[in-house]
Amino acid sequence: MSDFRIPGRGMVDPGQPCTLVFDGKRYDGLAGDSVASALLANGVHLVGRSYKYHRPRGILSAGSEEPNALIAQDRGDGRFDPNSRATMQELYDGLECQSQNRFPSLAHDIGAINDLAAPLFSAGFYYKTFMWPKSAWRKLYEPVIRRMAGLGKAPDAPDPDHYSTRYHHCDVLIAGGGVAGLASALAAADSGADVVLCDEHAVWGGSLCGNQTDIIDGLSAQDWIAGTIADLQSRANVLLLPRTTCYAYYAQNYLGLCERLSDHVRHPDTTTPRQRLWQIRARRVILATGALERPLVFPGNDRPGVMLASAARICLDRYGVLVGRKIVIFAAEDSAYGTALELASVGAKVTIVDLRPETAIAPDPLHACRKADIPVLAGHVMTGTKGRLRITQASICAHQDGVFGPERHLACDAMLMAGGWTPTLHLYSQSRGKVVWDPERKIFIPGPPVQDEQSVGAARGTLGLQDTLAESFAAGLASGRAAIGGRKGRKRVIIATETAERGTGFLGAVPLPHAKIHARAFVDFQHDVTSKDIKLAVREGFHSIEHVKRYTTTGMATDQGKTSNMHGLAIAAHQLGKDIPAVGLTTFRQPYTPVTFGALVGYHQDALFDPRRKTPTHDRAVALGAVFEPVGLWLRALYFPKGTETRHQAVHRECLATRQSVGLFDASTLGKIEIVGPDAATFMELLYTNPWQKLPVGRCRYGVMLREDGFVFDDGVVARLAPNRFHVTTTTGGAPRVLAHMEDYLQTEFPHLKLRLTSTTEQWATLAINGPRARDVVAKIVDDIDVSAHALPHMAARCGHVLGGIPARLFRISFTGETGFEINVPAAYGAALWDALMLAGAEFGITPYGTETMHVLRAEKGYIITGQDTDGTVTPIDAGLGWAIGKAKRDFVGKRSLARPDIIATERRKHLVGLKTLDPMIVLQEGAQIVLDPNQPIPMTMSGHVTSAYHSPVLGRSIALALVENGHNRMGETVFIPMPDTVIRAEICSTVFYDPTGERLNG
């Protein structure tokens, strides 16, 4: 048995020994231990090195507020977690972990040289020191600082674990499973409400977990808690979530909880989730988050072996571990006396050093301690500690009204600090509540509720057990009844007694004799901020607590200053000569404690990161060996390599085949919107630049859509199927935002118009057939549509049937400049249509082509792609689409903007033009900048950029589209494209490179 384990105490299981390996050394622990308690049971206090000075640090707390005991845990197969709190990590047999921030070992850390150089590292050290020379910052200072700084190592392998997410709704959510939370849950459950009770620990009871001396309802606290949990478990309307941290309180009673499912299991089932994120919407919330004990700020308060009194109490009550044999308690309030009695009862030699004069100490606990032979030195202050890797001596002196007595020394192996209790206001503050200063108890407490919540117990500053129970029962019952509008439940009255009630404690740095005021007294253990640092920051002019925080970094580490913020604030306020509330409090932000990325991501990893949308003919493309590219959420075939073809070879072949015979293209991803209603044409007139009223039924038109600012937003071909029905197509990526844009205008600007919008993108599989033999192919598969050039001219639209009865919408349109058809069939028939077209086209060598060939073919014709050849600053006139503006139209979205002076001053705008490189084999880089004079001094004036550039197989040369300043008036001029190793010359030309008269299109 370990040296410091007390048989018969705690809630650990002596029948289940567990081995812990810490920094390579084996320790014995028990099931139910935390890593911290197992180490303490073996007499190990030294667990880490501090962030800045690399000072040896021990275990401070027994909970999630722990600033020091951070460990790196490797569970194998990439399961690596830095910065786990040893106080929260439950022990399992064989658990392996390491200390952090030390090299080569915890006991001998070369970084500790920083500690000797501490006078150099004052507040703002980095800001003051690494300023010159400027060039050294990037190459020297920053890399070195980065290597030395930081807490723990980031994992370097993918996380193999699964995480789950759940949404949940309940009537009453109670955060915190201490006595206040349990009492609230009981009463709320009585009312019939659906109750969720969560606590970050594995066991219930909070600070009274395992407590055998305080009495509730005639039972020991431990027994009352066990009975209450059994009661709650038996109720169908209560969901108990242990190991679950309520880390965030958002708007409208929406809260985030993170449940740890397998972090305490040695061999977890890898098919089930490691953690589960609960997103809970609660009608009422009860915050029973308790209070955190404060350390005291005195010289040497960071030495291993110095810890919180409450931590020592929990170690004994919950884990059956004594934190030392010879313990000095430095107290500023009464609850430490109860702890002293408990520690003494199991054989520890305890001395109490109380900051307060004897008259300020509650008489009963004081008396009880003296009766138990516990020396109480009232009116004393701690002036220092000694011990290299563990405290061995405490130095004290008497003080009264600024007069200090001679220093005395007490030998010890542990020191407990009882500085008072800070209500845990994080969730209340996150709910947008404003905290209120209580000058009596010297604490911030919750102010009026902003959402449907209330705080109970220590979280609202209630000190006594009896009062806590009474208000918690009342709050639970009231919340439950209010949530469900019922009258069920009953008022509970319970008598509770405790050895010593909690008191108000002390804030700020303890008074010190003059000789000691330069010694380092730590405020923020994790970020190594001392009381001197805060005083210095104030002297240097940082008077707002927000500025002091950022200058000194107090409260900015992973513990977010849970144990330090109030002291830091009090020291700053004292230095400023202001009241604490006048200095203010920094904001509490989510999360309360760190949440793993895995839990936040939940199911949305790997294949579930985003939906991967596939078209109805996707598997046909796969069968042909297509290479795919993501376009928005869609996967589209990029090209169809044959044999060993490269991308370039495949695209070359696809382009020529389509120009020479016939190509097949999957256009299903294009957005489709059905616009239906008596005012459909009027709406179209308003949303597009083009005129639509006179477009005959059975005809298509290319439409351009602008934003209010006059810039091109989207484009696409629209077919009029009936006087009151339009089939609109959008770009693939633009489908959702075009529908949203239309809905927005319909509902806000034009609500009087009688029409409605329906997305039909997924109703149709759309295949495009292009090329001189396209008609020959299509003619073979239509049932009742005459596709002859005479009956179906370019831009005609027909509804009919294909493949012997499948309803189809057939449009004679082209994005290649060849004779083209787009056939829409209900989605599930897409694959059948593909097969039929491939069969019908076999004799013409029909060639499936992908998006890359589509891009080349359309660029040869100067057809733009919005988002590629436009960038949100291009007007239709800039893009050469002035012809698509209905000049006679009274209004359309963006019309007024087109009259703006800067838009009319067309020579100053960038225009879309064609570019031909002087060397026809050079393909420009898309995005490359264009200058008019390559000999101008650097930085050159950029006069435009390349938007599209390809090798054109049919032309046997490169082509490009570009936005060039005043480009429409520079036809024939030479421009220059500077590249890293050369300058490319190109001539400005028309955007139509191929078949400028459109003979092929209309053939």
Binding site: H169, R276, R281, K614, V622, E762, Q763, P807, A836
Partner: protein, 196 residues
């Protein structure tokens, strides 16, 4: 020439989809049979006209569905409905040609736009809560309620057709994502709480 009985439910990625069972053996997820679907927009003044044309009553209450042997209609918005009919007769596109004069009516055949999953069993609601933020408890989501909402990153229509039976309507290309998401959720042991 073409096979008109082609199974309109299937998309490439769902070819291998068979009924999923939760470990409890009581809760199943399966693909619904093919259906006719009609997206309906209609102002209140035209409700009777549309109901007559459709041969189905339109529900009065927002976010509710009528369910008859001839088909069902879900009211998913103040003026927005989704009609569903099984077995599919493949003729609702003809309704697009119906003239409703000056009234706001839009009928669009979307039979192939959606795919439906049916979740059945006492843990179905808990399964849905793995991806859907709505309150799926009684009485917040009673039998007969239908609502447009989210599942993970996909938009769905969630429809409760029985105490332990739910229908999820989703756009075709999002269906494999939904199937994968539900499969992943089946592995979460939280889905073991069996409601009454």
């Amino acid at each position: 020439m073409a096979d008109l009985s082609f199974n309109t439910v299937r998309t490439p990625d769902l070819d291998g989809f068979s009924t999923l069972h939760h470990a409890d053996g009581l809760t199943t997820i399966r693909l619904a049979d093919p259906a006719d679907r009609l997206a309906i927009w209609c102002e209140d003044a035209a409700r009777n006209d549309v109901a007559t044309a459709l041969g189905l009553a339109l529900p009065d209450t927002l976010n509710s569905g009528t369910d008859t042997d001839n088909g069902c209609v879900l009211r998913v918005g103040p003026e927005e409905y989704l009609a569903i009919r099984r077995p599919a007769r493949n003729d609702w596109h003809l309704l697009e040609q119906q003239d409703f004069g000056d009234k706001i009516v839009s009928l669009t055949d979307v039979s192939h736009r959606n795919i439906a999953f049916i979740l059945d069993g006492p843990n179905a609601a808990w399964l849905i809560a793995s991806g859907c933020p709505q309150d799926v408890r009684d009485p917040a989501f009673p039998v007969g309620k239908a609502s447009r909402t989210l599942f993970g990153k996909a938009e769905i229509i969630l429809w409760r057709t029985g105490h332990h039976r739910w229908v999820i309507e989703i756009w075709r290309s999002f269906a494999p994502y939904l199937a994968d998401h539900l499969t992943a959720a089946l592995n979460d042991p939280a889905i073991r709480r069996i409601s009454d």
